[in-house]
């Protein structure tokens, strides 16, 4: 969940790899080696059509399954772990495996990882409520350990670190020009999602690059167009 000013970072999270643990129910008894063989077919690049009830066009598309592992088999119930590209429908993967071995459907699914966020950073609702109450009633701020800074959401995307004198303009929605750049990732390509960061490491905005890294170093002009501003414009004054 993202709160208040952080709600605008969602586009940065959408492209992350996901990991799930789930249960697939087989419609027939299947020998373990036949099951393993069917599962193996669905690692690497796979083609699938999004389900009827989905938010995207129902057109066949390609996704990468980084790994698909059977953890346990109990009769017709198969516990599995899958690591896959964003936009992979795991329910559909189960159905596709089923087609090879007399039918299967997914009965349970739990997301265990999004990008680098795994179960270690998980917070339970009750604990969150307790910690908030503690903080409000006696100033105990252990809630700080349950909330990640918004910057955690952009660890995986290329960054442009800007001079403090350039922050106010970007925080007001202006585009970034090369003169405002201090440091940058060496792998930026044009038309890519980039994070604009202060010298102290605060996330200023998400932007779309116009130049590649190498051009930002030696050319003058528009470097990136600001998409969504995260920092409040009163943190850094006009300098």
């Amino acid at each position: 969940m993202a709160m208040d000013r952080a709600t605008k970072i969602m586009p940065a999270l959408q492209g992350l790899n996901k990991e799930y643990v789930g249960v697939m129910k087989l419609h027939k008894n299947v020998a373990e080696d036949a099951l393993q063989k069917a599962v193996k077919k669905f690692t690497g690049k796979i083609k699938q059509t999004p389900p009827v009830r989905s938010a995207v066009a129902r057109r066949e598309r390609e996704r990468t399954v980084h790994s698909l592992e059977i953890l346990e088999v109990d009769g017709r119930e198969v516990l599995f772990k899958i690591s896959c590209e964003a936009g992979t429908y795991v329910r559909v993967v189960c159905h596709q495996i089923g087609k090879e071995i007399g039918g299967a459907n997914m009965t349970e699914l739990r997301r265990t990882k999004v990008g680098r966020f795994d179960e270690k950073s998980l917070v339970r609702m009750e604990d969150l409520a307790d910690a908030y109450h503690d903080w409000q009633s006696n100033g105990n701020d252990r809630i700080r350990d349950m909330v990640l800074p918004v910057e955690a959401a952009v660890e995986h995307i290329p960054k442009i670190i800007i001079k403090d004198s350039a922050v106010f303009a970007i925080a007001s929605g202006s585009a970034l020009y090369t003169g405002g750049i201090s440091k940058l990732s060496n792998n930026i390509n044009p038309e890519e999602l980039v994070a604009i960061i202060t010298l102290k490491g605060e996330l200023v905005a998400l932007a779309k690059s116009v130049m590649k890294s190498e051009e930002m170093m030696r050319k003058k002009g528009l470097a990136a167009k600001t998409d969504s501003v995260i920092i409040s414009r009163d943190v850094y004054p006009k300098m």
């Binding site: 208040d4 952080a6 800074p149 940058l184």
Partner: protein, 65 residues
């Protein structure tokens, strides 16, 4: 990811290192990786979090099944 330097700059006195944020500052622009159990929808959970943490805006990154 490697960084290249275009110009040597030092931070001014404005702003704050993300690790030095207070609870209020974190809540104003932070993320919570919530352990959602089956049952309530992501929308239900979003509005509960919004209420218990007294926030104006809470969003979720969706569950893809």
């Amino acid at each position: 990811m490697d960084f290249i330097t275009k110009s040597e700059d030092l931070p001014s006195d404005y702003g704050k290192y993300p690790g030095a944020r207070t609870a209020e500052e974190l809540l104003n622009s932070g993320l919570v990786i919530l352990d959602k159990w089956p049952g309530p929808t992501s929308r239900d959970v979003t509005s509960t979090v919004k209420r218990i943490l007294n926030r104006k805006l809470v969003g979720h990154s969706g569950t893809l099944v």
